[in-house]
């Protein structure tokens, strides 16, 4: 695996991780609002 692919993979993992965190937080806030 070359450097470019490695950096792309790390960027993708960071984005999916961030999305999962914010999505979970969003759902938690929705429950608190109800």
């Amino acid at each position: 695996m070359n450097d470019l692919m490695g950096i792309a993979l790390v960027t993708l993992i960071i984005w999916v991780g961030l999305f999962a965190y914010v999505y979970r937080l969003d759902r938690k806030v929705s429950r608190l609002e109800d």
Binding site: M5, I7, A8, V16, F19, V22, D26
Partner: protein
């Protein structure tokens, strides 16, 4: 409700597509060392979101001073916080680019100096909010400060870096009013700007909802 869930999943796929396109669809641009030009697809949207967030904070602050609605104060503070976060990310991505292109993370280039001043101005905004206990007084002082802070944004972001000689490459729409990137570059950059704007809108509405819950709970305690 269902529509907003679909939009969020669409954002996940959209930005994942932007990341893949930034690394594998676009060829490295001429005049840049190695693969450094790919940082543009993340650095430019972050700088754009920072300016947009500071503008929203300023508008919400004006609205607060006119209507004295606590929701406007929440909007201003959430947007300023997000603006600061994205300005830090723009600085970090810019420093990585500087290291590759010019051999050092920090060169005291006019753009680096002006973003540092901007970061300090908005960090002071958050410090001001933390220093005043009375909610109404805090909201009024912060609103006035946010309006004054935004007056500096056009100068620090658009004017100062163009007056002084800078290592920073031409902006996307350069001083000659033209875009000299190839079409693939422009496509991915526009897609990235749209995706990051979507992410900002999501984080902003989520931040406002969290602060509204906190505000409601404080009111219940009193």
């Amino acid at each position: 409700m269902r529509g907003s869930v679909i939009l969020k999943w669409l954002l996940l796929v959209w930005l994942a597509g932007v990341i893949l396109a930034a690394f594998f669809y676009v060829h490295p641009a001429e005049g840049f060392k190695g693969e450094s030009s790919r940082i543009v697809f993340f650095h430019v949207p972050m700088a754009w979101i920072a300016v947009l967030a500071f503008l929203i904070s300023c508008i919400a602050s004006v609205m607060y001073l006119r209507r004295r609605d606590p929701k406007d104060d929440i909007r201003a503070s959430v947007s300023a916080g997000l603006g600061l976060l994205f300005a830090v990310l723009a600085t970090v991505t810019g420093s990585v680019f500087a290291k590759i292109m010019w051999g050092a993370y920090w060169n005291w280039d006019p753009r680096q100096t002006s973003i540092t001043i901007l970061l300090l101005i908005y960090a002071a905004y958050l410090a001001l909010r933390g220093a005043v206990a009375d909610p109404e007084r805090r909201a009024a002082l912060a609103a006035v400060y946010a309006i004054l802070a935004f007056v500096t944004v056009p100068f620090l972001v658009f004017v100062v870096p163009r007056i002084y000689w800078s290592l920073h490459p031409d902006t996307i729409i350069n001083t000659r009013g033209t875009n000299e990137f190839d079409s693939r570059y422009t496509q991915v950059l526009m897609a990235s700007l749209a995706g990051f704007t979507g992410l900002y809108i999501w984080l902003y509405t989520l931040g406002c909802r969290i602060e509204a819950i906190r505000h409601r709970r404080r009111q219940e305690v009193l």
